[in-house]
């Protein structure tokens, strides 16, 4: 029997996967989630696989991988996905897009839509909630017609753990650093541990859901959406993954609806079916009004 220290040392120094095993793993992960790992990510991925191997008390990568693939409950896959997705965000990130939302997109939607229908906004991936809550606060604070409309904000992510965090709505000082003192006192309560919690009314008003964008069963539930925020998700996909996800968003939007991408992203690398539009300082993309 080897000493525990020796085993730990072996684990630390020997590669977790062979090149072929790693390739198979990436292929499997891609098929399941649409997410691709670029070459530089091998270390990142292997660290997390090692972690899951230990947590599940698997004997080896092979054992672990077999277990994940044949686990009908999908639980381990979900935990694996949770560990792979990177969640680094804060309130009012890329705030020029919220400017575009309240100063340009929503006014135009209000001009073209029947008042009885709700305005639907979808934040995906929502991560720990900063984005959907930022959308909500921006609308309440800065859109003068907010009270004339029913506004539904849906927020989705593939990572169940982060969704749980989002629902709880507790944020660090760092996360709210761009939120003014006035808005903090209006929409947050300060906790004893120094964190900030979004007020219950806002937490209750956002519908959080677990969504894997490559799963039509999840995504076909979203229809007649007016605005989609999909920032910094598509960069993880390959060309065909991006095409398919963009096509899915096209179907989710009502004609004339909008999609906002991340700062360094552009439809020009992904798809021809959306029309670029400029609002304030942002380029956003519109599903043609005439499209069905």
């Amino acid at each position: 029997m080897m000493a525990a220290a020796t085993i730990a040392h072996l684990k630390a120094t020997s590669p977790v996967t062979t090149d072929e095993e790693f390739a198979k793993f990436c292929e499997f992960f891609y098929r399941k989630t649409g997410i691709q790992f670029k070459d530089g990510k091998k270390y990142f991925v292997e660290r997390r696989i090692t972690d899951r191997i230990e947590k599940t008390r698997s004997d080896s990568f092979r054992d672990y991988f077999t277990m994940v693939r044949f686990d009908e409950s999908g639980e381990e896959l979900q935990l694996l996905v949770n560990s792979m997705t990177v969640n680094e965000t804060y309130f009012f990130r890329e705030d020029y897009q919220f400017d575009a939302l309240v100063g340009g997109i929503l006014p135009e939607i209000a001009r073209t839509k029947p008042r009885v229908t709700p305005i639907r906004i979808w934040s995906i991936p929502c991560s720990s909630g900063e984005e959907p809550y930022s959308i909500a606060i921006s609308i309440l604070e800065r859109w003068d017609l907010a009270d004339s409309w029913n506004i539904e904000i849906s927020a989705s992510d593939i990572d169940s753990k982060i969704l749980h965090t989002a629902r709880k709505g507790i944020f660090s000082e760092r996360s709210v650093s761009r939120v003014s003192a006035q808005l903090r006192s209006k929409y947050f309560t300060t906790r004893l541990d120094g964190d900030f919690q979004i007020c219950e009314a806002l937490r209750e008003s956002i519908d959080f859901s677990l969504v894997n964008v490559v799963d039509p069963l999840h995504t076909r539930r979203f229809r007649e959406i007016d605005v989609i925020f999909c920032r910094n998700l598509l960069i993880y996909f390959d060309d065909i993954g991006r095409r398919e996800t963009v096509e899915m968003f096209f179907d989710a939007l009502r004609p004339g609806g909008y999609i906002c991408l991340g700062h360094s992203e552009s439809m020009s690398r992904m798809s021809s079916i959306f029309l670029p539009r400029k609002f304030k300082e942002s380029i956003v993309y519109q599903k043609p009004l005439s499209a069905e």
């Binding site: 552009s266 029309l275 670029p276 400029k278 380029i283």
Partner: protein
């Protein structure tokens, strides 16, 4: 290219701006070289969608437009530009490999101001660019 030497570049705020929209990398580099020597500030786009995004983002005095490009071809880009009040006045020169009368007619119908056949000579490009952009003669 020797005739381009000796002509200084116009620096500063009044420098005319041209957007070059072509999916070919050496073509874009060639246009940049000629147009910078002719006094333009040059920006590039690799397809029609990117071209339209750039036109929306900043004012331009001229667009050079290729026809065959991924995502959005040159004719579609021209029609999109002419349909958009914010950018419809941008003059556009089409530079394409296809010189048949039908192709030329299509380009003008879509909204081109001028048509050049590839490969262009530096003089042709510089003179047409300055003419269509309305840059005063030197």
């Amino acid at each position: 290219m020797d005739e381009m030497m000796g002509r200084g570049r116009e620096a500063g705020a009044n420098q005319p701006r041209v957007l070059v929209v072509d999916d070919g990398i050496t073509m874009r580099m060639f246009y940049r070289s000629v147009l910078e020597a002719a006094g333009f500030a040059v920006e590039e786009a690799t397809n029609g969608v990117e071209g339209y995004e750039r036109l929306l983002a900043q004012p331009f005095d001229l667009a050079i437009v290729d026809i065959n490009m991924p995502k959005m071809d040159g004719y579609s880009l021209l029609r999109t530009i002419r349909n958009d009040p914010a950018v419809r006045m941008v003059p556009a020169v089409v530079i394409s490999t296809e010189g048949g009368p039908k192709d030329v007619a299509l380009a003008f119908e879509a909204g081109a101001n001028f048509y050049l056949l590839k490969p262009v000579t530096p003089t042709e490009l510089a003179e047409v660019a300055r003419l269509i952009a309305g840059v005063p003669a030197r």
